[in-house]
């Protein structure tokens, strides 16, 4: 690697040792991998945009969905937690580029320290992502689905969301969960929600100040709240109680919303995870002195490209899912 440089191979285009774009083979291939991966993510995000435009009037409002912050339970704070995650990732990008910079000066210990900080940042991010998923899957308020597949949520007269468990009646009906060992053949069913439709309807009837909020976004860019009589009428069409989110339905609104959330943030989270694994391998190589012997820390640079790319994708995911 040290014997051939671009400068003294000028004119020998076919003789080997020529770097066509002034970058080594490995770095060039990392760039082209990044181009293809960027197009993959663009495809996902554009598909999200497609579905959102298709259901533009009923799409969930992000700042009503992602409101959880650790140690602040019951106090909805949109944006804060995801802003924290963004900072973690940007900062781990900074430590990564500092590691690359130290590598140029062949400072082994500095590279190791900065890489270690990058790994820690990556782990914090993946952990935060997991916590976000947990809250998303668990849900907070619950909703009911109508025969036609639209979703009804419950609010009090100030428009504040009300959880199903706080008003649903308790009825003597019992419905046993069908599991594999009770079924005749390989039969089971998704877990049954805590309350049945009848219990929700009865509870709604006995709380006259409750109203129903539909998915439709009105001119003020809020979800439409029905009057009491409209609400009662609408609730008679309920067929299912929805709690939390899965790939089939979710309590936030459009069914596709949760699918895209799981798929895109999951795919990005997987990239972060593999980035952490690759960073660990490189970290141990640095410690062992592999690049010290090579007199080149270019491998840190190549892995750094990947890590920055992961950060770059998150910048777009952040905008598309949480801001616009």
């Amino acid at each position: 690697m040290e014997t051939v440089t671009t400068e003294n191979s000028v004119g020998k285009t076919w003789g080997g040792g020529n770097e066509p774009m002034g970058a080594s083979y490995g770095k060039l291939m990392m760039w082209f991998f990044i181009v293809s991966d960027a197009l993959t993510f663009s495809g996902f995000l554009a598909a999200y945009g497609f579905s959102r435009f298709k259901f533009i009037e009923t799409w969930p409002l992000a700042d009503e969905v992602f409101t959880h912050v650790p140690f602040m339970h019951g106090n909805p704070q949109p944006m804060l937690y995801v802003a924290f995650m963004t900072f973690i990732l940007i900062f781990s990008s900074v430590t990564m580029v500092l590691a690359v910079d130290a590598g140029h000066q062949l400072k082994k210990d500095k590279v190791a320290v900065y890489l270690f900080l990058t790994i820690i940042g990556g782990l914090i991010f993946v952990g935060s992502q997991a916590w976000e998923w947990k809250n998303f899957i668990k849900g907070e308020y619950g909703a009911v689905e109508t025969k036609g597949g639209s979703l009804l949520q419950f609010v009090d007269k100030n428009g504040k969301r009300v959880a199903i468990e706080s008003f649903a009646a308790t009825m003597p009906e019992e419905r046993e969960q069908l599991t594999r060992n009770k079924g005749r053949w390989f039969m089971d069913e998704p877990s049954i929600p805590e309350y049945s439709v009848a219990e929700v309807q009865a509870g709604f009837k006995s709380h006259p100040d409750l109203l129903i909020r539909t998915e439709t976004v009105n001119a003020e860019k809020h979800k439409t709240i029905l009057t009491r009589s409209e609400s009662e009428l609408r609730l008679t069409q309920a067929t299912l109680v929805v709690e939390g989110a899965n790939l089939t339905r979710n309590e936030y609104g459009s069914k596709l919303f949760a699918d895209f959330f799981f798929f895109i943030t999951g795919f990005h989270g997987f990239h972060v995870f593999s980035g952490v694994v690759i960073n660990c391998i490189i970290f141990f190589n640095v410690i062992l002195g592999t690049y010290e012997k090579r007199k080149s820390y270019e491998m840190v640079e190549k892995v750094g490209l990947y890590w920055h790319f992961v950060d770059l994708v998150w910048v777009f995911v952040f905008t598309v899912f949480y801001l616009v």
């Binding site: 945009g49 435009f53 944006m79 000066q105 910048v315 905008t319 616009v324």
Partner: protein
């Protein structure tokens, strides 16, 4: 490999500052959602969303050009990476968003009802 091996730490911290400020501005507008931005449209999208998208592109520029050190690469590599991406992404977004909007109108205007 042929970069001059001088330390770029000052530039790195400057870029970190820029990225942090942009993120804080985004979060601030995301929480407050000022009326005059949120309710006024330009070319079919409200001004707040335009702001978010432009700020995101600025962030992307700094990540690619400073952190990934694109500014130090030869222009042939720069354009081989950046131009196909810009072209294909705009193309993809144009097609899919137009189509999505069309399907929305079909559902809304025609007699097909999906929401009852």
């Amino acid at each position: 490999m042929s970069h001059e091996h001088v330390s770029n730490t000052k530039r790195i911290w400057t870029v970190f500052g820029i990225l942090s400020v942009i993120t804080i501005v985004e979060v601030f507008f995301g929480i407050t959602k000022p009326e005059f931005l949120h309710m006024n449209n330009l070319l079919g999208m409200n001004l707040l969303n335009w702001l978010f998208i432009i700020l995101t592109l600025v962030k992307a520029y700094y990540i690619v050009y400073a952190f990934m050190h694109m500014e130090g690469e030869k222009s042939v590599l720069r354009y081989a990476v950046v131009l196909p991406l810009i072209f294909l992404v705009i193309y993809l977004l144009f097609i899919l968003l137009t189509e999505g909007n069309y399907i929305f109108e079909v559902f809304k205007i025609s007699t097909i009802k999906w929401n009852f």
